[in-house]
């Protein structure tokens, strides 16, 4: 493999690994905040125990997120020196702000994790607020950088050097509002469904104690609200991309000829060499109607653009379909859960519903990763859309092959160990809870 491909592979693997922990780092603190807050307010030890249990798991998750995030800040330079030399001064500002958000999150997490007995209950709970806020802020700041890569603004170029910079205009570039909000709600969506999956699995295995009966609905509140918002912001994003990056839009929709009254392709396989998408369910005029509100509106297809500016259409279309499909399914799953909960006046324990929730956890991760595939593959061949090609940004170092191999092994080892530890931790907590309840049972 050449250096560009290897750099993309390493960066993609690192980002794909990190983002799982990053989104949990955004969403889980909010759940902890809610659980501990309700516990204090209602003097309910079960809610407090839940917050403590989540904190234990979160300590592990946050640490892996922190170290894998460090890998990314190094890799920006190690893999993409051309990109960083060109754009560091333009997009450094949101990165710096993210640095501070990370600082606050790490500091207050230290206080939160180790301060259960050192701080008064209210002070301890207050520590969860900066964690939740800075977690969300980190996501907003970092995604600003990616948004800038999609719609670069705020600088003037002379030759291949940047001469004038407006860092605020770069941070608040046209893509920022849609991309930022969509990613933030997706982080809550993934956190909600992932936590729900854990407790749904607990119910299925017969551990449905008081803790489970609190944890599952709380996670599902977050999940269902976030899926609604993800749908709305996803729609806004797609409309924005249609204007701002028409090539990406045409690729995600698998649309080759510029068409008046364009159909919506559901599924299907785009064949770039034959300039058509096959095996798709085609709904006539729907794409035009969805995008412009006019069933006969003209939508630009890929054929309007030079071939050397096309991304990998197959990957972009497939990822887009995966994201949208899973997103809709997750939303329905959340609605169904609450419908059943309302009918049963309590957390539904129907086997099929619980099974669906267990699947929904990993599915939400897949949906989120697919979304990033659309953004990143869809922007190719550019690293900075319309400004710098990915091929000119990569490093020239000869050591990339071994680096890739080592990082693959490393991430596998970290992922497996973390999973094993979380499972063992859950088992142990359960055993402890069981002995506690037999001890306190009246004789």
């Amino acid at each position: 493999m050449d250096n560009v491909t290897l750099s993309r592979a390493i960066m993609g693997t690192s980002l794909g690994f990190h983002i799982v922990f990053a989104v949990l780092g955004v969403g889980m603190p909010l759940l902890m905040l809610a659980a501990e807050g309700i516990g204090l307010w209602r003097h309910d030890p079960v809610w407090l125990a839940l917050a403590r249990r989540w904190a234990k798991a979160f300590a592990l998750i946050f640490a892996i997120g922190a170290v894998s995030g460090t890998a990314l800040s190094f890799e920006l330079g190690l893999l993409w020196p051309g990109f960083m030399a060109f754009s560091g001064s333009v997009i450094g500002l949101p990165f710096s702000a993210e640095g501070f958000a990370f600082f606050i999150e790490a500091i207050f997490l230290g206080l939160y994790l180790y301060g259960w007995d050192r701080l008064r209950p209210l002070a301890h709970w207050l520590c969860s607020i900066p964690i939740a806020v800075s977690g969300a802020a980190s996501s907003l700041f970092v995604v600003m950088v990616n948004a800038w890569m999609n719609s670069p603004t705020g600088f003037q170029v002379a030759g291949n050097r940047i001469i004038r910079v407006d860092p605020l205009a770069a941070a608040f570039n046209p893509s920022t509002p849609t991309e930022d909000v969509h990613m933030l709600v997706s982080a809550y969506l993934v956190s909600g469904f992932t936590v729900a999956a854990v407790y749904a699995a607990g119910f299925l295995r017969g551990h449905g104690d008081a803790l489970h009966r609190r944890a599952l609905p709380l996670a599902m509140v977050m999940a269902v609200l976030a899926s609604g918002l993800a749908g709305i912001t996803g729609d806004t994003s797609a409309r924005f991309v249609a204007d701002d990056q028409p090539i990406k839009f045409a690729s995600q929709e698998g649309l080759f000829p510029t068409t008046a009254g364009a159909p919506l392709h559901i599924g299907g396989v785009p064949l770039p060499n034959e300039h058509r998408t096959v095996f798709a369910i085609e709904i006539p005029h729907l794409l035009s109607w969805l995008l412009k509100g006019d069933p006969n509106a003209t939508i630009r297809g890929l054929n309007d653009f030079p071939r050397d500016q096309w991304p990998n259409v197959l990957i972009v279309h497939f990822s887009f379909e995966t994201m949208v499909g899973l997103g809709i399914a997750l939303g329905l799953c959340g609605l169904l859960y609450w419908l059943l909960a309302w009918r049963r006046r309590g957390p539904p324990t129907d086997r099929w519903m619980l099974l669906a929730l267990v699947v929904a956890g990993p599915a939400s991760v897949v949906a989120m990763e697919s979304g990033w595939f659309v953004t990143e593959f869809g922007r190719q061949p550019w690293i900075i859309y319309g400004v710098m090609r990915t091929s000119t940004a990569a490093t020239t170092t000869p050591a990339l092959g071994p680096t890739f191999a080592i990082f693959l092994v490393l991430y596998a080892a970290l992922g497996l160990t973390l999973t094993r530890l979380l499972l063992l931790l859950a088992q142990r907590e359960r055993r402890r809870a069981a002995t506690a309840s037999t001890r306190t049972r009246p004789s």
Partner: protein, 340 residues
């Protein structure tokens, strides 16, 4: 102090961040070293004390590195790109060390109550804590000795494979261990035998780092004329302070005055780093990159300084709170000490 610009101010802030990383995170790496070399009848107590000292603060300490990286590529993007290319290998290896250290520590600290001792990860924690400072030290040697050039090719061994780099790599480990042992003397004030263990370790580390530092000076004189002229030029007064402070710190350690030792050992780290930085000013990465020549446009620097000022208004009191709650006379409890 005329002629100082915004770029100098940002370079100064980055030096402070590097110093903070060295003084705080350096000690966390040193903790890993002593975890690896825990020995004697109080072996387990040593490890527990190290874990308790690191637990609440290591992630916050680690953020100084992120701050440094981000600040560097915002304010001096071409320098960041050149360093990343020229020092690809030591940075990648240090990065692996940093990742493994953090992950292993967390697996141990939070996993122990679930599975007991976590066989390979304890060893990984110590090993990675040695690798990270060693390669960062070697990279620093390459920068300081003027081996990182603007037109450097993709040669992966440039500059950091030298006797000086070897010496500074070892010195980084020794100083980290020295810092950690001194800080741990304060943390274990309530347990005299354990404190004596760390005092012995601190004395050993003081001797080793003293020898390595003096060797480094000789090597610099013989092999790194650029760094030598920096240290004996503008940086001379800081070098002299460092040479004078070294024995004071070692004496405080030997006498068993942990609080004086903690301050003077940390100060030693500061003087060494500043002697280099002040000495080479106005170069950032000598000889090709000066602070002014490689700085980002003024608008970026201004926005960065404002962001940092605003950020520090929130971060510094928070850091103070963190250290107030868990440091000083309040050593942190182990995670397993308390129950719901």
């Amino acid at each position: 102090m005329t002629g100082l610009t915004l770029a100098d101010a940002v370079a100064g802030i980055l030096l402070l961040a590097l110093t903070a990383y060295a003084v705080f995170a350096g000690a966390d790496f040193g903790g890993g070293v002593w975890d690896l070399f825990a020995s004697g009848p109080r072996r387990k107590a040593q490890r527990t004390a190290i874990a308790a000292a690191l637990g609440p603060v290591w992630e916050a300490n680690h953020v100084w590195l992120i701050f440094l990286l981000v600040g560097l590529f915002t304010a001096f993007p071409s320098v960041f790109a050149t360093l990343s290319t020229a020092l690809y290998l030591p940075f990648t290896i240090a990065l692996l060390g940093i990742i493994l250290r953090g992950a292993a520590f967390t697996f141990q600290a939070h996993g122990e109550e679930a599975v007991g001792e976590l066989a390979p990860w304890g060893f990984v924690f110590g090993g990675a804590s040695i690798i990270a400072p060693a390669f960062l030290g070697a990279a620093l040697a390459a920068v300081a000795s003027g081996s990182v050039r603007a037109a450097g090719g993709p040669d992966v061994t440039t500059g950091w494979v030298s006797w000086l780099a070897l010496d500074l790599g070892l010195l980084a480990i020794a100083l980290a261990a020295y810092l950690a042992a001194t800080y741990l003397m304060v943390e274990t004030e309530g347990d005299p035998p354990l404190q004596a263990d760390f005092r012995r370790r601190a004395v050993g580390a003081a001797i080793v780092s003293g020898i390595l530092a003096l060797t480094g000076l000789v090597l610099t004189w013989r092999q790194a004329p650029l760094l030598w002229s920096a240290l004996t030029g503008r940086g001379l007064w800081l070098l002299i302070i460092a040479l004078a402070n070294g024995p004071i710190a070692a004496f405080a350690v030997w006498r068993g005055s942990p609080r004086i030792a903690r301050v003077s050992v940390a100060a030693q780290m500061v003087f060494v780093l500043w002697a280099w930085a002040v000495g080479q000013w106005p170069a950032l990465v000598p000889p090709d990159f000066t602070i002014h020549g490689s700085a980002a446009p003024e608008s970026t620097l201004g926005a960065l300084v404002v962001t940092i000022a605003a950020g520090m208004v929130v971060v510094l009191p928070s850091l103070w709170l963190l250290f107030y709650v868990f440091k000083g006379r309040n050593p942190a409890p182990g995670l397993t000490d308390h129950r719901a």
